[in-house]
Assembly symmetry: C2
DNA sequence: GTCAAATCCTAATGGTGTTAGGGTCGGTTG
DNA sequence: CAACCGACCCTAACACCATTAGGATTTGAC
């Protein structure tokens, strides 16, 4: 179908397109081969096996997402950085749902060790640095923010918010505001606790 | 392998066991048939197709999870209810990772319409009611709490927290405390905002 | 005791990933 | 310049999967 030179990068890119179009599970060596007008075994010259192909898509997604986040938080801090961070994620899910799906799974060792993975960690740190949170607290805060955002986007993706009002968009704003509230009061959170705690 | 009468319920239960043992993707009609010492086509008497089998596992998981949550929050309110709610989820992921996985996907229409789905909504409401949050705010709050908890558990499951310190357990406590903070200050959250907001 | 429905079977088809090994073309090397 | 070699794609084959068609056997009702 395409005249592109068959190469590892091109194969993975085509896999990513198929993932976005039909879901990550629809990524198949046979479908990629078909789209190139080539026989399935020919792909093994460029990709070790299906698992390596999927890890390749994961690394690609990590890289693209890290770049989007980096652009979104550059020169911003606190609330603006947080909103940029969140919306970078959300727009990526909308633009590339299949690639996002490739991140919601246990990836192979080479994908975890990829430079792209370190890059994601770095941009995450940058957001929290703006709030003046350091040390173990920063790890906790990153995990909490990442959990809330990815959790929301996954629930939205699978349609969990589709059958109730108000629209998910409104809750997204509330979520970002809530996280901002949490981060700005991170250091005096103890004093805000109510009696019922213990 | 088992002398159990072959029936729709038994087939789905066996599928759930296989999911917990090897991941949701390892649930296959062939594997279930093998475990019963039966030929694959025989299962079609009890289950429409593979999609129906997976939806059956999803409904089973919804039911079991709703029951755990119900037990965990019975007679509790505010922080205790929230902690019970969170830990019910977390223990379910640990005990039945494959069934939990069956919930992290877009399910079929019959699964969405199942009574179990409504049951989950009811127990969710119960937690928020204890904090005195009602109306649209309750929907927002449920979505935020659900996003944060499921997001954390999914990231923990795929190993996102495995390669950094401190242990995920610590962050889980921070998450529950953070959510409690958010819910207790839900109604005065506007007054806690800092100037940078806009 | 007979009939019918339920249940399991075998046979077959088409889709998937994967390996083995053959042909062809381009560029490299003596 | 000619022989060679390696990269690349091919065909053939195998194992595993879901699904459908249709036959046989058992079970339960009347």
């Amino acid at each position: 179908m395409d005249r592109t030179q068959l190469t590892r990068t091109a194969v993975i890119a085509r896999g990513a397109e198929i993932a976005d179009a039909g879901g990550f599970d629809s990524v198949t060596l046979a479908a990629i081969a078909r789209s190139f007008g080539v026989q399935t075994p020919s792909l093994y010259t460029h990709v070790r096996d299906l698992a390596a192909l999927r890890d390749g898509i994961t690394v690609l997604a990590l890289d693209e997402l890290a770049e989007r986040i980096g652009d979104a938080i550059a020169g911003r801090s606190e609330y603006d950085a947080l909103v940029g961070f969140g919306n970078a994620h959300r727009s990526y899910v909308q633009d590339h749902p299949g690639r996002w799906e490739s991140l919601q799974r246990r990836a192979g060792a080479d994908a975890v060790a990829a430079p792209a993975a370190r890059r994601i960690v770095r941009v995450n740190d940058a957001v929290l640095l703006g709030y003046g949170i350091t040390g173990d607290d920063r790890t906790h805060a990153i995990r909490i923010v990442g959990s809330a955002l990815s959790g929301f986007l996954n629930l939205e993706r699978i349609g969990s918010f589709a059958h109730s009002t108000p629209a998910a968009e409104r809750s997204w704003q509330e979520l970002l505001d809530s996280l901002h509230l949490l981060l700005t009061h991170w250091h005096d959170r103890e004093s805000l606790r109510t009696k019922e705690k213990s």
